[in-house]
Every structure is written in structure tokens, then in C-alpha cells.
């Protein structure tokens, strides 16, 4: 498929990029790696009068440390993240999550900012507009008022499938957003609206400039586990990031975030509460995973039923916690 016509701009600063986006009043899109946007333009499910290429903006391509914060520029590619010796040494779950995305080709192109803002997905949406028009009435995500995935569904059930966001959320990351009103810092969770049809709570003029990750304490251990059909190039069926802050056998703090279970990343709050300020045991992890099973109701995706995915939430929350714990044991050995 070929791309439609569009105007094309190459701003050199973030402010210029924001002005261009603002001038086009929602009809211009920022272009970074292009791996999410260009297929959607080809399918004509996203329409843009103009593309604003962000790749020429300097200062957004580095990973740097500042006191207790690790700053990752929004244009750092996932390939650079998985190869970063700093991330591999200090935040290996983040490097692993970047590695878990797509293929080497996609990771060399896709940027962290773009990955965090990737569109929600649905079996009934990710096709060409012709396919959509010929077969079904327009769904919520295509601007209509029905859901084909959940019969009689009253809202869009498209699923957020990013691999990196849950790890960043478990680490308490914040994002520096530049918009027409200036700069603002947001918790990463605040950029997600939870709505399938419009997954982001950012305006069309907002751009993510940097991702700020608080450096985890030396006694924090984390893991990202991804359930997928193939070893390569697959979105997660369920993805779980877990970070445990430990002191000996005691878990002082726990953060567990899931991806691919809803229209935004989801925190397993009750499971975290079970782990927090408790002594580690296999039974404790089991109990936490059962809490996650109770509190999380996944949207069906990838052709799997919500019931099945709920079972997988139990399995993969358990695996993520065990992996984090084993990482701690490995570090002590």
C-alpha cells in the first residue's frame, strides 16, 4: 500500500514542532520512528494533513544521569535501549522490555517516546479502511458507535500493547511533555486516558520530550515477562512488570503493572498490597497472583477470551514476581 499525500515539515526545535502541530489543529502528526504511524496512514485508518518530522530535533537522543534520575530522550530507539550498557547494568528489566518489542529492524527505528504513545490495537481495527468499510458498520475506534469485539459493547475495547510502559510505570517514571502552553511534568500513568478509541490524555499538540526514571534503590529487583505466541515480532498477549524492594527476606515495597489487559497499562494494586511489608515465600507470591486474578479483568485480545487471559494474568504475575526474586537471589550469590 502507498502513503496518502501530506505536507511535510522538518522543525529543528521542539517549540517549532509544537507550533506546527498547533497550527494544523489536530490534523498534523508528529513522526519519530514511524513504525506505528506509517502503517496506520497506509491503511487510511489515521488521517493526517501534515507530518512533522521530529528526528531532526537535537538533544532528545541521549540517556543521561542527573542525581537520582535517569533521563532518557524520547528519540532514543528501543535498539539503543536494549544495547545500553548503563540500562543493562542498572535497569535490566527496562533493557529486556525494549528487547521484547518487535524485531531488530523495528527496534532500530522505533523510539521510546513513540513506543509509549503507540495506538491501541484490536482485531477489528488493524485492517485497511476498505476492509473496515466493506465488512462492518463503523466501530467506536473508527468513529462509529458499535463494538465488534464485545457484542453490545458500549465502549471501545481496543487494547494497549506496549512492552516498555509497564516497566517504566513500575519504576515510577515521569514524562516531560512540551505543549503549546509550555512544559509540564506528568506521571507516566497520566498520559493514558484508558479509552480504547483515544488512548492518550495528551492533546494533539503535546510532545513527549524526556522520560525521567527514578533510579531504583540498590535493593530493588525487577522483571518483565511477556506471554506471546511467537518468540519474535509479537505483541504481548499479557505482559507483566514487577519491581520488588527487599530487605533480606522481607519485601518492603512492590510495584506490579500489566500490559495488554486493557486500553491502558493496569496496576495490580491488591497484589502489590499482599506483597508489601511481608516476608517472601512461594505461598505469598501465589496469594498475590490470585489477588491479581481477582482484581484484573482483561479485555479479550489476540483471539483469546477474557476468561483465558484472566488465568494467564495469574500465571504471569507469579512468574514476574518469582523472576524478580530469583534476580535478587542471583545478585546475592
Amino acid at each position: 500500500m502507498r502513503l496518502p499525500d501530506f505536507e511535510y515539515f522538518e522543525p529543528e526545535t521542539l517549540q517549532d514542532a509544537v507550533s506546527l502541530l498547533s497550527k494544523h489543529k489536530g490534523k498534523a502528526k508528529g513522526l519519530a520512528g514511524g513504525t506505528d504511524l506509517l502503517p496506520k496512514l497506509k491503511r487510511r485508518v489515521t488521517v493526517a494533513d501534515a507530518l512533522v518530522n521530529l528526528q531532526g530535533i537535537s538533544g532528545l537522543r541521549s540517556i543521561s544521569e542527573e542525581k537520582d534520575i535517569l533521563k532518557i530522550g524520547a528519540l532514543v530507539t528501543l535498539g539503543e535501549m536494549e544495547e545500553s550498557s548503563f540500562l543493562k547494568g542498572n535497569l535490566s528489566p527496562l533493557a529486556q522490555a525494549a528487547h521484547a518489542v518487535g524485531t531488530v529492524q523495528l527496534r532500530n527505528m522505533a523510539t521510546l517516546g513513540g513506543n509509549l504513545c503507540q495506538d491501541t490495537r484490536c482485531l477489528y481495527y488493524d485492517h485497511s479502511h476498505l476492509f473496515g468499510q466493506s465488512v462492518w458498520e463503523k466501530c467506536f475506534k473508527r468513529g462509529g458507535a458499535v463494538c465488534h469485539l464485545i457484542k453490545k459493547g458500549k465502549k471501545c475495547f481496543a487494547v494497549y500493547s506496549g512492552d516498555v510502559a509497564p516497566v517504566l510505570l513500575a519504576l515510577g517514571a515521569r514524562v516531560l511533555v512540551i505543549g503549546s502552553a509550555g512544559e509540564r511534568m506528568l506521571d507516566l500513568s497520566q498520559i493514558y486516558s484508558g479509552k480504547g478509541e483515544q488512548a492518550y490524555a495528551l492533546s494533539s499538540e503535546d510532545l513527549i520530550a524526556e522520560i525521567h526514571v527514578p533510579k531504583p534503590s540498590p535493593l530493588s529487583y525487577g522483571a518483565y515477562v511477556k506471554y506471546r505466541e511467537r518468540g519474535s515480532i509479537d505483541f504481548p498477549i499479557v505482559g507483566v512488570a514487577a519491581y520488588l524492594k527487599v530487605d533480606g527476606e522481607r519485601i518492603n515495597d512492590a510495584n506490579i503493572w500489566l500490559t495488554s489487559v486493557g486500553s491502558a497499562p493496569v496496576e495490580a494494586i491488591k497484589a502489590e498490597a499482599v506483597l508489601r511489608e511481608a516476608n517472601f515465600s512461594a505461598d505469598l507470591i501465589e496469594e498475590a497472583s490470585l489477588q491479581a486474578h481477582q482484581e484484573i479483568t482483561p479485555y479479550p485480545n489476540h483471539g483469546y477470551s477474557a476468561w483465558y487471559l484472566k488465568e494467564m494474568v495469574t500465571v504471569f504475575v507469579k512468574r514476574a514476581c518469582m523472576k524478580a526474586w530469583e534476580d535478587m537471589k542471583g545478585g546475592q550469590a
Binding site: 502513503l3 501530506f6 511535510y8 513522526l31 529492524q105 515480532i233
Partner: protein, 153 residues
């Protein structure tokens, strides 16, 4: 509206008039007539269109040609020097790693970049490296054998 774009492909500088909507793949094939690079899905799922950008494999179907200016682009045509085949091409030929041949240019470019970074890989590393490149004919076995046969002693 078309604009002039300077592209450096296989060590040669080209000045091409390209519309912003033209992908690098379209410009390589239709303007520069370097038809070795193939279009498969056009959506980033099959990696048939893989070329090297500054030495790293990337998908030419999802890169606008106007954004590739100033970058070192290598296509399958740029691999062999002179009339002989590149060792990877020779190995694919000798090991029977080519059937219909459509995935071969992308597969070889991915393998080239991989071997440049990891000259003595294991079989599993090779399998992971080419895991994005889809081949519907060979079953991958001979492709893996061909890549392993090229690894440095």
C-alpha cells in the same frame, strides 16, 4: 510537492526528486532502479524490505525517503565488490538457502549486519537474529546453515 533529497546508497551519492509520501523502498526501486530490495507486506511485519541504515538493519517500507538524507544506506546491490558474490550470497547459493528468493535480499542484509557485530555466533543466536525475516519456502534450516557457514573461524 517533490523535493530534492541527497541519498548516499552503496557508497554513491544520488540526488533524487522525491515526494514526502514516497518511502525509501519506493525511491530505491522506482527512482534508483535498485530492485534488489523487495516489498513484502509494506507494514513492517515481514522484513523483506530490510536495508542497512548506518550499518543497522531497518525497514525501507516504513522510512520516508526524505528522512533518510545524509544516512549511509546499503542495499543488496552494495554487498559484493566487483563481479564476485559476497561470502553470504555465495553461502546462500551453495547451501540451497534460496527457493523463490523473494525474502533473500532482506535475509542477507539482516545476516550481514548481524555477522558484522557477532562474527562467531551460535545457531540459536542466528535464529534469533533472523527471526523477523519471514520466509515461506525454505523452513529456515538452510538459511541458518548458510549463515553459520560464513561465520569467521
Amino acid at each position: 510537492m517533490k523535493r530534492l533529497v541527497e541519498l548516499k546508497v552503496n557508497g554513491e551519492a544520488y540526488e533524487v526528486a522525491a515526494a514526502p509520501k514516497q518511502t525509501l523502498l519506493e525511491v530505491l526501486r522506482d527512482e534508483l532502479h535498485l530492485t534488489g530490495t523487495k516489498e513484502g507486506c509494506g507494514m513492517g511485519s515481514c522484513c523483506a524490505c530490510t536495508v542497512l541504515i548506518d550499518g543497522k538493519p531497518a525497514l525501507s517500507c516504513l522510512i520516508l525517503a526524505v528522512t533518510a538524507k545524509g544516512k549511509e544506506i546499503t542495499t543488496i546491490e552494495g554487498l559484493s565488490k566487483g563481479e564476485g558474490l559476497h561470502p553470504l550470497q555465495q553461502a546462500f547459493h551453495e547451501k540451497g538457502a534460496v527457493q523463490c528468493g523473494y525474502c533473500t535480499p532482506g535475509m542477507i542484509m539482516t545476516a550481514k549486519s548481524f555477522l558484522d557485530r557477532n562474527p562467531d555466533p551460535t545457531k540459536d543466536e542466528v535464529k534469533e537474529a533472523i527471526s523477523g525475516n519471514l520466509c515461506r519456502c525454505t523452513g529456515y534450516k538452510k538459511i541458518v546453515e548458510a549463515i553459520l557457514s560464513v561465520k569467521q573461524p
